[in-house]
Amino acid sequence: MATVLRERVPMGEDPLIRWDWVWNNLDDPILALLLEHLHLSLVPLLLGLGIALPVGIVCARWQRVYPWALTTVNILYAVPSIALFFLLLPYTSFSLWTAIIPLTIYSLVILLPNVTDGLRQVPDHVRQAAVAMGFGPIRRLVQVELPVATPAVIAGLRVAAVATISMVSVASLVGLGGLGQLILSWGFDRQFATPIVVGTVLSVALAFAVDGLLVLTQRWLTPWTRMAAPRRGPRIGGGDRWR
C-alpha cells in the first residue's frame, strides 16, 4: 500500500495499465478486494433467494398478497442506493451489513417476481394431476411445483447476480464495495488508471464466472428443459446456446 502512495502520477501521463503495479499488489489489495466483492455479492443473493422463495410461494398461493409485496420491494428499490448505504450507517456502522442489506433488497426486486411467476406458470393440468395422484400440499410444492419453476428461478438469479456484482462497487462510497474500492480510492482519488482498469475487468469477469456457474447449475438441475427434440440420453454441449 505504501509504495503506491509515492507513485502517484496524474492520469493520462501513465500507460493505461502498469503491470508492475498489478504484480506488486496482487495479494493485497487486489485478491483481498476480489474476495470481499464475491462475499458482498453472494451473501445478498443467497439472502435474497432465501426471502424470495417463501414470499414468492405465499404470493403464488394467495394472489392478493403479490401486488402488496411487489410494491413494497419496488418502493425500497426506488430509494437511491447511496442514500440507503448512508441511512444504514448509524445502525450497522462500517460492517459488511451496510452493503449486504441494500443489495439484498435490490436482488428481491428481480427474484420475487421470478419465483412468483415461475410457480404460477406451472401448468394447471400438471398441478391438478398432482392433486389427483394424492400429493399433499407440501409434497406437491417440493416435488412438483418448485422443480417445474426452477428454470424461471434460475433465470432470475442470473439477472440478479450480474446486477448485484455490478452494484457492489457503489458501496465503496462508505468504505466497502470490494473491487469498487480499487476503482474509487485506489484509482480515482489518486488519479491512477491501473486500479480502475483492474477493478473494472475483474468485476466484469466475476459477473461472467458467476453467470456461467448458474448456467451449469441449471443444466444439472433441469436436464428436461434441454430435451425438446425426440432424442435419447442426456447431451451436454452440442447445440446448446449460451443465453
Binding site: P123, V126, A129, A132, G134, V148, W224, M227, R232, G233
Partner: protein, 381 residues
C-alpha cells in the same frame, strides 16, 4: 360400485354445479358422463376423489362414505387421467408412471419394474422410459397418463376428457386401446367427455347431463339412442342417432346373397344367364382366391361377346367392404351407400367374399333392429 345419493355441489356464490344427483356407477364397467360444457360432468367426476367436495348428499364407494376417508389416501387408491395428460415435465416417462408407487413408499426397484410392465401394457416401447414428456407425441403422452393412473392397480379409474386434445385418428386408436385394456383389466371406469360418439363407442352405460348440473338420462348406449327421454337428450344425441344406433347390431345377421358372385374366368354369356335367372342386375366378379375384383352390370354383359371372360371386362370399383363377423349394420350400410352398385360386399377376416347385400336387404334388417329395441349384441366399427 360408486353410489351418488342426492348429491349437490353449491358454490358459496350460489352457483349450482351439480343438482340432486342420484346415480349408481356399476363396478367393472365403463360409465360415461356426457353433456354440454357447464353441465357438471367434470365436477361430478372430481367429487369421487374429493378434488371437489360435495355440499349435499352422500357419495359412497362399495358402501363406504368417501367422507370417512382421508382425501390424500383416497386419491392414491383411485387412478386419474386428466386432459392433456398432466404429466410432470421434470420427470422421465418411467418416473412419471411410477409416481403413485413412489408416493406410497414402494421400493425404487419395484416401482420401476411396475413402470416397465405398464409401459408394455399400454403399448409404449421400452426405449421411451428415459425420455421426458415433451419428447413424446400427444398420443404417447396420453398413454403415459393412462399407465400412470394404473400404476397402483386401483379398482377405480377416473378419466377427465382424456382424449380430447389429440387428433381424430389418434383418438380413435386410443379409444380402441382403452376398450382392449378394459376387457383385460375390468376396472370401474368413470369417463367424462362432451363427444357423444366417443361416449357411445366406449361406454357400457351413459349418463347425459343437462346444463344446471342435472342428470337427464342414465342408460345403456343402445337404449339411449333408441329412446331419448326428452327433447334435450334427443338434440344432444344429434339427428343421426338412428344411424349411429345401427353400430349396436351385428352385420352377421344379414342375409348374404351368394348368387350375385361370379368367377372372373366365367364367360360373359354364362354370367348374363346367371344374372337373369337369379334376378341380380349387378354381379360381383371375384378372383381365384375369392377376393373381390369389381362389379359388372347385366347390360354390359349383354353387349359383350358371350365368350369373353368376365375378368377382362371393364369392372366397376367395389368401394370398401365390411367384415361380416365383426362389423355392425352401420358399417354394412355405409359400404352399400358408397358402392356404385348400391350393394355392399361382405368378406371374412381373410378378405374372402362371403356374399353381397342390397340396400333393400339392409332396410329390412334395420326395420327388424328398430322393432326389438333391447336386442343386439355389441359390435364395433
Amino acid at each position: 360400485m360408486i353410489t351418488f345419493t342426492g348429491v349437490s355441489k353449491r358454490y358459496p356464490g350460489g352457483t349450482v354445479a351439480v343438482d340432486q344427483l342420484d346415480l349408481e356407477v356399476p363396478a367393472a364397467r365403463t360409465t360415461v358422463l356426457v353433456g354440454p360444457s357447464g353441465c357438471g360432468k367434470t365436477t361430478t367426476l372430481r367429487m369421487i376423489n374429493r378434488m371437489v367436495e360435495h355440499t349435499e348428499g352422500h357419495i359412497a364407494i362399495d358402501g363406504q362414505d368417501i367422507r370417512a376417508r382421508d382425501p390424500v389416501a383416497l386419491r392414491r387408491s383411485i387412478g386419474y387421467v386428466i386432459q392433456q395428460a398432466g404429466l410432470f415435465p421434470h420427470r422421465t416417462v418411467q418416473h412419471n408412471i411410477a409416481t403413485v408407487p413412489f408416493l406410497v413408499g414402494t421400493t425404487r426397484r419395484a416401482a420401476l419394474r411396475r413402470s416397465a410392465e405398464l409401459m408394455e401394457l399400454v403399448g409404449l416401447a421400452p426405449e421411451l422410459a428415459q425420455r421426458y414428456p415433451q419428447q413424446l407425441s400427444g398420443g404417447q403422452q396420453q398413454r403415459v397418463g393412462v399407465a400412470r393412473a394404473l400404476a397402483a392397480d386401483p379398482p377405480i379409474l377416473l378419466m377427465d376428457e382424456p382424449f380430447s386434445a389429440v387428433d381424430p385418428v389418434v383418438r380413435k386408436s386410443l379409444q380402441e386401446e382403452l376398450l382392449r385394456l378394459q376387457r383385460e383389466l375390468r376396472k370401474t371406469i368413470v369417463f367424462v367427455t362432451h363427444d357423444i360418439d366417443e361416449a357411445v363407442r366406449i361406454g357400457d352405460a351413459i349418463a347425459v347431463f343437462r346444463p344446471g348440473g342435472r342428470l337427464a338420462q342414465f342408460d345403456h348406449p343402445e337404449h339411449l339412442l333408441a329412446e331419448p327421454v326428452d327433447e334435450f337428450v334427443e338434440a344432444f344425441l344429434g339427428y343421426d342417432r338412428g344411424v349411429r344406433r345401427l353400430s349396436f347390431f351385428p352385420a352377421s345377421e344379414l342375409q348374404l346373397r351368394r348368387a350375385a358372385i361370379v368367377d372372373a374366368d366365367h364367360p360373359a354369356g354364362a354370367a348374363l344367364g346367371q344374372a337373369r335367372s337369379k334376378d341380380e342386375p349387378w354381379l360381383l366378379a371375384v378372383d381365384s382366391r375369392e377376393h373381390p375384383l369389381g362389379w359388372i352390370h347385366a347390360d354390359t354383359l349383354a353387349n359383350t361377346a358371350a365368350t369373353t371372360p368376365v375378368g377382362e371386362l371393364d369392372l366397376v370399383r367395389y368401394g370398401h367392404v365390411f367384415t361380416v363377423s365383426t362389423d355392425s349394420l352401420r358399417a354394412a350400410l355405409d359400404a352399400a351407400m358408397l358402392s356404385p352398385a348400391s350393394r355392399a360386399v361382405g368378406v371374412d377376416r381373410t378378405g374372402r367374399v362371403l356374399g353381397v347385400v342390397r340396400q333393400t336387404d339392409l332396410s329390412a334388417a334395420i326395420w327388424d333392429a328398430g322393432g326389438n329395441g333391447a336386442a343386439g349384441t355389441r359390435a364395433h366399427g
